[in-house]
């Protein structure tokens, strides 16, 4: 019998036992799913995005199903960075890499959250959520403007020595450019995609389905768009890429690796099955066995493109 495939990867300085993380906002603070999943068997956890102070979210209705996907407008609800450090983080088992996602409505808030998180050695890395509306820039997402994005990454980079991931907004025309901006400002890795801006309408009431009007689309419906963006971003930078979007199975994850991702995050699929991330890990191992792949790292960027 052949030895089991080597699943370990390095994501911008974060050593992961396998390439499967859980996506921000889809796995709470990690403890909620403990009854159903052994956290030490997945690659790691990305926390719900954290702000300086606790925040309440939007009024209902906050979620709705769409074809093979869902819309959400939760509205930044989170416990705040202090409660995360004092209550949530200590409740997680040792040996589970925890990446803390952070955001703010201004760059100063991002920087302050990053500083607080960097004081704690239980945090393995930071992930900037760049899909947050920038209050001072009239509500446009930080990640939608290369200038804002560059300033944001630069300032947070100064505030932390932890491995720094930047999670990109897909609501842009040129994703490769955004990836390059992050690399240029010292990000250790990029993660993509966050949700796609979307809308649904109830024809009976003629109202938007979500109270917030616009929401973010996630789930299997966005997978081909996410793959395309990962493919384009990975070819534009030399830092590692973490692929996100509609991943439910090992084969879905392998597609992202082939398109250039070093690791992946599982999001909406956690709602369907709290052990979804573990099934993805097992599915990747199964693929490697079947395809005779000794290390998952061999798959990264291995897409075979037509000649010419």
């Amino acid at each position: 019998m052949s030895s089991p495939p080597d699943l370990a990867v390095d994501l911008g300085g974060i050593a992961l036992r396998n390439p499967v993380l859980t996506a921000s906002g889809t796995f709470g603070y990690g403890t909620e799913l403990a009854p159903w999943i052994d956290l030490r068997r997945i690659g790691g956890i990305v926390s719900k995005s954290l702000t300086l102070r606790p925040r309440h979210g939007n009024l209902p209705r906050r979620i709705a199903e769409t074809p093979a996907g869902m819309l959400n407008a939760i509205g930044l609800e989170n416990v705040g960075v202090d409660a995360f450090l004092e209550e949530k983080l200590p409740a997680l088992p040792d040996g589970v890499p925890v990446i803390a996602s952070l955001f703010g409505t201004e760059i100063g808030e991002y920087r302050a959250v990053a500083e607080r998180l960097s004081e704690c050695d239980r945090v393995a890395g930071l992930e900037i959520n760049a899909s947050c509306p920038h209050v001072k820039a009239g509500g446009i997402e930080f990640g939608q403007d290369p200038g804002h994005l560059a300033r944001l990454v630069r300032e947070v980079r100064r505030a932390t020595r932890l491995p720094l991931l930047v999670k990109l907004s897909p609501n842009v025309t040129d994703i490769a450019r955004m990836a390059q901006v992050c690399e240029g400002e010292g990000a250790d890795a990029i993660a993509l995609i966050n949700t796609l801006q979307a809308l649904d309408v109830d024809v009976e009431t003629r109202r938007p389905v979500l109270r917030n009007v616009l929401g973010g689309l996630s789930g299997p419906a966005i997978r081909p768009v996410a793959l395309r963006m990962v493919f384009q971003a990975a070819r534009a930078v030399s830092i590692p890429v973490c692929g996100i979007g509609g991943i439910e199975t090992g084969e879905d994850a392998v597609k992202f690796l082939l398109c250039g991702a070093t690791a992946v995050q599982v999001g909406t699929a956690n709602y369907l099955d709290p052990a979804a991330a573990l099934r993805v890990v097992e599915g990747i191992a199964e693929y490697c066995r079947r395809a005779g792949v000794a290390s998952v790292r061999e798959l990264v960027g291995g897409i075979e493109l037509p000649a010419g």
Partner: protein, 272 residues
């Protein structure tokens, strides 16, 4: 793996029976190995998973656990009573005997039972009726119980026969008058409150119904435990999609902090 009583399982639930009982509602009987029991008002997330390889519909649907036979035994049977609304419940309705659904549950915090001898009044409308059968059964062992059920028409009164089989006083209202009093179920409440001045009051049904029930009971100085039916994506506190606004600001998660709440704590004006 056997769950402790009430411990939430992630299980493959095999369909034993999925029988139409009215123009739009069905009774689903599921074999759920390891299911260790539940408290009344708790729910499960049911995903049609294997039935929709196209992942459309995608999300699991929250359903009250209607009752359970043989809990703690090797082969417990979980019963769900549900109404076909939209695409998810239509997919459930297509499930055949022997097919397997994903089930996560029991989830949430159920109804606190009335004190010994206290008595109870249960108000149920529409699909909310399904959350009340087990509560009615357990409350009836502790004191007198009055159940008030409402629907558009007699044929839409889910589980009526199961309530009739219990030792309690049953009152019905239908909007078309095909059974019981014509009108809404909440119209039955003031009389019930007067008949049973000490009884604990419980409600589950559409938001406007629960709101009116809460207001009528509050006018009589009586608190109400209401079980909310907000849309959910996960059912276990991680998506934050099910939030219910609280009076005085902030939100509670219906799946984790509820689905049962003190009706006076809910900000009904700001509910969806």
């Amino acid at each position: 793996m056997r769950a402790e009583p009430g411990e939430p399982l992630r299980a493959r639930a095999r369909v034993l029976e999925n029988r139409r009982e009215g123009p739009s509602h069905l009774r689903l009987r599921l074999a759920v190995p390891g299911f260790g029991g539940f408290s009344p008002g708790q729910f499960a997330m049911l995903s049609p998973g294997p039935l929709t390889p196209s992942r459309d519909p995608l999300l699991p649907r929250p359903m009250a656990i209607y009752r359970c036979e043989g809990e703690g035994a090797p082969d417990p049977v979980v019963e769900i009573l549900y109404k076909v609304h939209g695409r998810g419940t239509a997919a459930l309705a297509a499930a055949r005997e022997g097919e397997v659904l994903g089930l996560v549950g029991p989830l949430g915090r159920g109804f606190p039972l009335p004190a010994e001898g206290e008595g109870a009044i249960l108000v149920g409308g529409g699909t909310g009726i399904a959350s009340l059968l087990e509560l009615a059964r357990r409350a009836a062992a502790r004191g007198p119980v009055e159940v008030l059920l409402g629907a558009r028409a007699e044929s839409e009164l889910m589980g009526l026969g199961d309530f009739e089989a219990l030792d309690l006083a049953l009152h019905v209202a239908t909007e078309d008058g095909s059974r019981g009093r014509r009108g809404r179920v909440t119209a039955l409440l003031p009389d019930a409150l007067a008949r049973a001045p000490g009884a604990a009051v419980y409600a589950c049904g559409p938001t406007p119904m629960m709101r009116v029930a809460a207001e009528r009971a509050a006018a009589a100085g009586r608190p109400v435990r209401a079980s909310l039916e907000n849309p959910m994506a996960c059912g276990f506190g991680v998506c934050l999609g099910c939030a219910a606004p609280l009076r005085g600001g902030g939100f509670a998660l219906v799946c984790r902090d509820g689905p049962v709440f003190d009706a006076a704590a809910v900000d009904w004006d700001r509910m969806a």
